[in-house]
Symmetry: C2
Subunit: 251 residues, 2 copies
């Protein structure tokens, strides 16, 4: 049996050393990731590799200037891509029909599967990664910076490099297993379940400080009033829908 303990103690890396990422290694890790399962073996994804500091400067505002975009040696933008496959169809007397939400959805799922397979392979080789969830917030701007044609949509971004230092702080908390799994059918949560499942998160010193610094009553309010507000979610839902339309997936 192979040891997967390293996956249990992994952590996100946001600060990278000067050590460059070898191109052959990067390509090998990507090839490993492309062995993951995908829909109909159509491989409806592309990966844009950004190493150029000027291009990173252009990408940075799309990710709200999170410092790892310019600081990481490599930025990878994982895109759902039915452009390549559709071009092949057209060149072979076949009429492609992938300009719709369902095709986007399976392309996007396959794209994330590849991204996560890549991240595991990278971490197992001593590299550190950070996912940028901002990708779907500003997909239209990212498409402009990377020159993405129709049927190509950025779905997630990963910054990559060797960790600057060994992080010895405790791993981030996770909900108890029983909070997430359901046997046979979904067991909806009682008030007591919710209290129990979130008690560890609420008790952490770091989270209690968050509440205090933000002058809130509860940790949940830090999420709803500051970090993931309804207003922002609604705004970026429209932008995301617009990006899908612009890239031709809502025809």
């Amino acid at each position: 049996m192979i040891n997967t303990d390293s996956m249990k103690t992994r952590r996100t890396v946001r600060s990278y050393s000067e050590r460059p990422v070898d191109e052959d290694l990067l390509h090998s890790l990507l090839e490993t990731a492309f062995r993951a399962s995908n829909t109909g073996n159509m491989q409806a994804y592309s990966v844009i590799i950004t190493r150029d500091p000027q291009r990173k400067q252009l990408l940075a505002p799309c990710h709200f200037n999170q410092p790892q975009v310019t600081q990481a040696p490599v930025v990878l933008t994982f895109c759902a891509d039915f452009n390549r496959f559709s071009k092949w169809c057209e060149q072979r007397k076949a009429t492609p029909g992938f300009n719709n939400l369902q095709a986007f959805t399976y392309a996007a799922i396959d794209t994330i599967i590849v991204a996560q397979a890549f991240c595991t392979a990278a971490e197992e080789n001593g590299l550190g990664i950070c996912y940028l969830g901002t990708t779907t917030y500003n997909a239209s701007q990212i498409s402009d910076v990377l020159g993405l044609p129709g049927l190509v949509v950025p779905v997630t971004t990963v910054t990559l490099g060797y960790p600057k230092e060994t992080d010895t702080t405790p791993l981030p908390d996770r909900l108890p297993l029983q909070a997430i799994i359901h046997e046979e059918v979904y067991q909806d949560y009682s008030a007591l379940n919710i209290d129990q499942f979130f008690s560890l998160k609420e008790s952490l010193l770091e989270n209690r400080r968050f509440v205090e610094i933000n002058a809130k009553d509860t940790l949940a309010q830090v999420f709803t009033d500051i970090r993931y507000t309804k207003k922002d979610n609604v705004y970026f839902s429209k932008a995301w829908m617009e990006a899908l339309r612009q890239q031709g997936y809502l025809d």
Copy 2:
């Protein structure tokens, strides 16, 4: 550290032995997967574990009766889930705003990240997996079978078990690395690129047989006219949009 060579030689497993999947192992693999990155550490996902043969019989038609649904010892339905987190917010004087497309999107991305982390961990422990892309086709029916409440949407399904036999056939083909990666900006494909990148796929005996059996001119036509038709994609786009609306993500 896991040896990432095994990730390069992995393959989908659709036929499972009688050997049961130990519950402690399954839970440990899920806990490992839940260490993967997620948005804001909200863990907006749930996993429904199906072992009951009768429940599998109910799920089977949702997956167009693919035999692995009833044959696999375990079926895992990975769901985007903002129900639990929203309930916590409401219980803590916070007003959740996750009933929209952007929140669904980051929940769905985190769900797929967890699914793939799980699959890698499972394969490293000798298990075999098969993804069922049919999940987003019939999300509404699956929601009924599994009793999913609002803000819970099935995004992918994985069948799990020990492989029935060692598969010694060649690994499925993949496009060349250069077909998928782009340096700095997207390089769109010339007709020559397309010919080159798809030539291996088109040359394979199995694929040439597909063309012949289906009485088509080209392999691409097998995809567009039979396997992934525009008509089906449009039909299942509407069903998917309707499922998202029904589960409360398009308010």
